[in-house]
């Protein structure tokens, strides 16, 4: 059984820094794990895992619009939220959906929506709203092949850059990317936690295959699941500044209807939330949005380092493509090829430090992805003086997955 390591990355320093590594428990036989405090082994679909993850993280509001391949998330929450006194509403479109969850969040809800490419495109303005107003919410995008309507039931990783830059006006992004059904559950909880903590819209990107795949899953013990809720102000209403510079820019957020009659606008605003055109205040607001991410890189970035200790060639891949890569690593290792995998669980902010370390440690990096070359741009950005020739892309955009053999063939080409 390969040893999995989780690495959380430091705030991007100017000099070479050691990447912190946090060991995670190596999974044992299923039966043994089930007997411990873990919950029952179940067969679960990726979309189902997202829905239950949302509920377990305290999500009590869903507004959405049906779209393949994400619809199961809405269907499950339509059934489950009323049972828990939460709200489910099917809106008239995806624009309304993102706006409704932002509105609900300002009234105090933990709110989530789920969609796919076409809907994600429609939501971009609302995502920008949540970012500039610092309104916690989560958007799940189960990616499908595009562009446009594309192939609704086929996998694609085409929205990596859109998740980063899709909304106009230059704002930072937190985007998580699971590679299994279990991780879909875990990262949904994490997405909600991060949205509450950082007061922003967090995006969870799923691959169509993961959204629709069923896997045996041992869900972690709910009693051990850490759930984060936004900090509420404890000052009198007339002292309250909802965009104060408190605690590394993570300032408390009141809810509508609780006595703090504050103003929220998606115009550039001051610390009280009132619109401003003053250069100093505008610069301060932009710095605040940026710093709350950059000051907390260590908390935000998660990566998995798979058989990288002695690797000569590394694969950088996320989601379903990382699963193919792990299979390729296993085959390569059996043939004596020292191949490893670096997998980001957080794709934005990008794990710069771990990638720099990888580029130093290995002779070549292969970047397989189900798009026409999106991750590879980031890897090449980090090569600096090293030759870009050592970074090799592998793409597939025909609606099918990259297979372990596709990756292995590329490995052998660069050897």
């Amino acid at each position: 059984m390969p040893k999995a390591k989780l690495e959380s990355q430091k705030k991007a320093p100017k000099t070479k820094a050691k990447v912190a590594e946090v060991e995670v428990k190596v999974p044992g036989p299923l039966e043994e794990l089930e007997q411990k405090h873990e919950r029952k082994n179940v067969l679960m679909q990726g979309n189902e895992a997202v829905a239950y993850g949302a509920l377990d993280a305290g999500c009590n509001f869903f507004a959405g619009y049906p779209i393949t391949p994400s619809t199961e998330i809405a269907e499950i929450l339509a059934r489950e939220l009323p049972k828990r006194g939460g709200t489910f509403i099917q809106m008239e479109d995806e624009i309304a959906s993102i706006c409704a969850i932002a509105g609900a969040s300002l009234a105090g809800a933990k709110a989530l929506t789920a969609t796919s490419g076409p809907g994600f495109s429609l939501m971009q303005e609302g995502i920008g709203f949540a970012k500039i107003t610092e309104t916690p919410c989560v958007v799940v995008n189960v990616q499908r092949a595009g562009p446009s309507t594309g192939m609704p039931t086929s996998p694609s990783q085409g929205d990596i850059m859109q998740a980063r830059w899709g909304s106009h006006g230059d704002s930072p992004a937190i985007v998580l990317y699971p590679d299994s059904v279990k991780e879909s559950y875990e990262l949904t909880i994490r997405a909600i936690n991060l949205s509450e903590k950082y007061r922003t819209c967090v995006v969870l990107l799923l691959d169509e295959v993961i959204g629709h795949m069923r896997e045996s899953v041992l869900l972690p013990d709910l009693r051990k699941t850490r759930v984060i809720s936004r900090i509420k102000p404890n000052v009198p209403p007339h002292w309250y500044k909802h965009y104060d510079k408190d605690q590394k820019y993570l300032s408390p957020l009141a809810s509508y209807g609780e006595g703090y009659r504050f103003h929220v606008t998606s115009l550039t605003h001051d610390a009280l939330g009132f619109p401003t055109n003053k250069a100093a205040e505008a610069a301060e607001m932009m710095a605040r949005l940026r710093r709350k991410i950059t000051y907390n890189i260590r908390d935000l970035v998660q990566i998995e380092s798979h058989q990288m200790e002695d690797a000569k060639i590394a694969i950088f891949a996320a989601g379903i493509t990382a699963r193919s890569a792990k299979a390729a690593v296993a085959i390569a290792r059996s043939e004596g090829i020292k191949l490893g995998l670096l997998r980001p669980l957080t794709i934005w902010p990008f794990p710069d430090e771990a990638v720099r370390k990888m580029l130093q440690d290995v002779e070549a990096v292969i970047v397989p992805e189900l798009n026409q070359g999106q991750f590879i741009r980031e890897i090449k950005r980090l090569t600096r003086d090293k030759s870009e020739g050592n970074v090799v892309g592998l793409t597939k955009v025909n609606g099918q997955m990259l297979t372990p053999n596709d990756i292995l063939r590329k490995v052998k080409e660069v050897m």
């Binding site: 295959v209 069923r214 792990k326 299979a327 997955m401």
Partner: protein, 184 residues
């Protein structure tokens, strides 16, 4: 045991995805690692449909079956399309109601008119999927039959449990007859 890869293939509406979920659910009850994936067009009826189940004792990385240990083909199109990805000594199960030509002689081929049998014995083709699944499980022994029955009860509506348990049993019996009881 290494990964055991099964592909269930046919056309939309034949219940292959449900059969694959029942099979994967049985593997979970058996405490095995399992992945179940599916591929289908936008239609829920008519178009081609396939579902893959991979069962293993270790973590499964790539979830699509590429080199099947067992292929179930309920249509000619599916048989033609996937037969060449059956591994050496892999098991081929075809529904001869719809599959008239097999392009390649596989070592372990089982040919039965599952759809006709379902119509004759159960009154409709609706349970062909479960009947074929029962046959497949008794032949391959990839999951325990006890777990299969529990999973079936978990995954079909209560009103259809009895019918489907009957279909499963017919599948088992057909397997015994086919092999002369050697598989038991």
């Amino acid at each position: 045991m290494k990964n055991y890869e099964i592909r269930l293939s046919g056309s939309g509406g034949q219940g292959l995805i449900l059969a694959s979920i029942i099979l994967a659910g049985a593997a979970v009850i058996d405490k095995r690692h399992v992945t179940q994936t599916q591929s289908y067009g936008p239609e829920s009826r008519g178009g081609s449909s396939r579902a893959d189940v991979i069962i293993s004792d270790r973590e499964i990385y790539f979830p699509e079956a590429m080199n099947f240990n067992c292929l179930l083909a309920l249509t000619q199109e599916a048989c033609d399309k996937y037969l060449f990805d059956l591994r050496e000594k892999g098991i081929l199960i075809v529904d001869t109601t719809h599959v008239k030509n097999i392009a390649l002689a596989a070592d372990n081929t089982y040919e039965l008119p599952f759809t006709d049998i379902a119509i004759e014995r159960l009154g409709s083709a609706i349970s062909t999927n479960i009947l074929a699944l029962g046959f497949l499980v008794r032949i391959t022994k990839v999951v325990s039959e006890k777990s299969l029955e529990i999973s079936l009860k978990q995954n079909v509506k209560p009103a259809f449990v009895d019918l489907n348990l009957k279909a499963l049993q017919i599948g088992y019996d057909l397997a015994d007859q086919y092999t002369g009881g050697n598989q038991k």
